[in-house]
Point group: C2
Chain length 289, copies 2
DNA sequence: CCCGGTTACGCTTGTCGTAAAGATT
DNA sequence: AATCTTTACGACAAGCGTAACCGGG
């Protein structure tokens, strides 16, 4: 009776929690409602704890806790399978590159036409998972970091990371902002400013102590810049990007020495066209143009 | 037939790989050799790849790959179970504290007598796992970091981390060393020095570009200091510790601004005596004596 | 021929679906 | 009454052990 928390059960558990419904989860997973009910019962019996309230279906505190663990677990499981299978399977003919919006810079655009590469733009938080699970062959992520410090990425799988670029960071302000005239700003100056929360684009994790001014779920850079320029909230962006925003004023950041860093993620095994593209992206002088 | 890589199978796989024997693994796991054989066959069939060579029993490249994933996976699984169970179970009467050798400092020794605490000294790499799996109730880890930067810990589970102390780092040199007279050293000066590799004590991940001079598996600080003083290799230690080493010369480090940081790890839910101890350890002025 | 891994086979146990029952709004 | 979850039960497959098999020192 002492099962080791079968991944199948975890999978249906997260699905039920996500959909707040046994029957909907059953449809999505191709089970009967009955089976789903039995899965949840098995989990709860194994842990001797209620994980979900019924009617309405919501996770209990213990369920919430399990959910926090289950997602990364299932991800790692997929990553493991994909990683092993990659060894045996032939290198993909058409390679797919996952990139966060801000990682799509001149260097990438120059290297792209090399071969038939499919570019998929994802929120930065999803790029490591996409590479780990084999959905994409390579990944480019970006984020703020101390100079020459690697990014802090969720370790879904042992991926090879290579620093590709580091750029100056800037704050994008609306034209009339009191700090808009400055040559540079310190983050302290913005301690209680309201930031834009844009998880699909990137950047502001932890910097914002205050509640975000506005949340933007998309991955479109222009939209984000427009929002910032229109005064809906501040945005922290690479200087290069902030400068090219139509409106608004880009003021470089200097106080906490932070840079906008881009890294290349590659699965352990890498051959053929993917390896060639990786070399193009990482190659040249370290942190070139 | 499309199993999701049952943890049971993974567990026997890692055991077989570790023991290089089906029958030994069977004994350890309480199965028959036959069952173990079937487990491996099931895994190999699922992945359509040979994972182990027989006679001698060794992992194939694909097997090595799977091993890298399997260990963290099983760890996370245990962590998830422990985390959920902790919610229901009563807070432990006697609490256990996992600490890496260098985290055992004056602050800890002052706070310890408070209640009946069991102290368990572990290699720093094992502390997060001990806390995550519930083997210990709290953890103290240490490592080098940029000032006020959190340590880079393997994320086996979502643990709460609190900075507890930051101290100056120093290099412990034998008395006759050319740099022994300096007031401070830069890491560049030691670019091709030979370091002691002491994973049980901590500190030198990545700093050493060269092969280690000597490897010490234990967790005893005095031994490590003695080895360094006797010229078997350099050791990077908190200045406080390096100074108290009987022999050898402690030279502070200044060039790359690095500190020796200690952090407190606590599982999400924390009550009773454990919470009290956590407060004692983390409390007071930030990074106090 | 012995040691160790594999294969064959039967038994037990678990898992899923159908269908009826129970609960909640 | 309608909707959604649980329970009962039967069919089927999976997992384990016993025992026979086989291949290499």
């Amino acid at each position: 009776m002492l099962m080791t928390m079968d991944p199948h059960l975890l999978r249906t558990f997260v699905t039920v929690a996500r959909l707040s419904s046994f029957s909907a989860a059953a449809r999505e997973l191709g089970y009967t409602q009955s089976a789903v009910s039995q899965h949840i019962a098995a989990l709860e019996g194994d842990l001797r704890t209620e994980l979900l309230t019924r009617r309405p279906v919501e996770p209990t505190p213990a369920g919430v806790r399990l959910l926090e663990h289950a997602a990364p677990l299932l991800l790692r499981l997929d990553a493991a399978r994909a990683d092993v299978l990659r060894l045996a399977s032939a290198p993909p003919g058409r390679i797919t590159l996952a990139a966060s919006p801000l990682a799509v810079g001149p260097r990438l655009l120059a290297a792209l036409p090399a071969t038939g590469v499919t570019l998929r733009v994802l929120p930065p938080a999803e790029v490591p998972a996409a590479v780990a699970t084999g959905d994409c062959d390579l990944g480019l992520v970006d984020g703020p970091a101390a100079p020459s410090d690697p990014l802090r990425l969720p370790d879904v799988a042992p991926l090879a990371v290579t620093g590709v670029a580091e750029e100056e960071l800037a704050v994008l302000l609306p034209a009339g902002h009191p700090l808009a005239g400055r040559a540079a700003v310190r983050l302290d100056d913005l301690a209680d400013a309201r930031w834009l929360d844009a998880p699909g684009v990137g950047v502001p994790p932890g910097l914002a102590r205050t509640a975000p001014a506005l949340r933007y779920e998309g991955t479109d850079l222009r939209t984000l810049c427009a929002l910032a320029a229109a005064g809906h909230g501040l945005a922290l962006l690479p200087l290069r990007v902030a400068r090219t925003a139509g409106a608004g004023v880009a003021v470089p950041l200097d106080a906490p020495r932070l840079v906008h860093r881009t890294e290349l993620l590659s699965p352990g095994n890498l051959t053929g066209a993917a390896a060639a593209l990786a070399a193009r992206l990482a190659g040249g002088s370290p942190y070139g143009p």
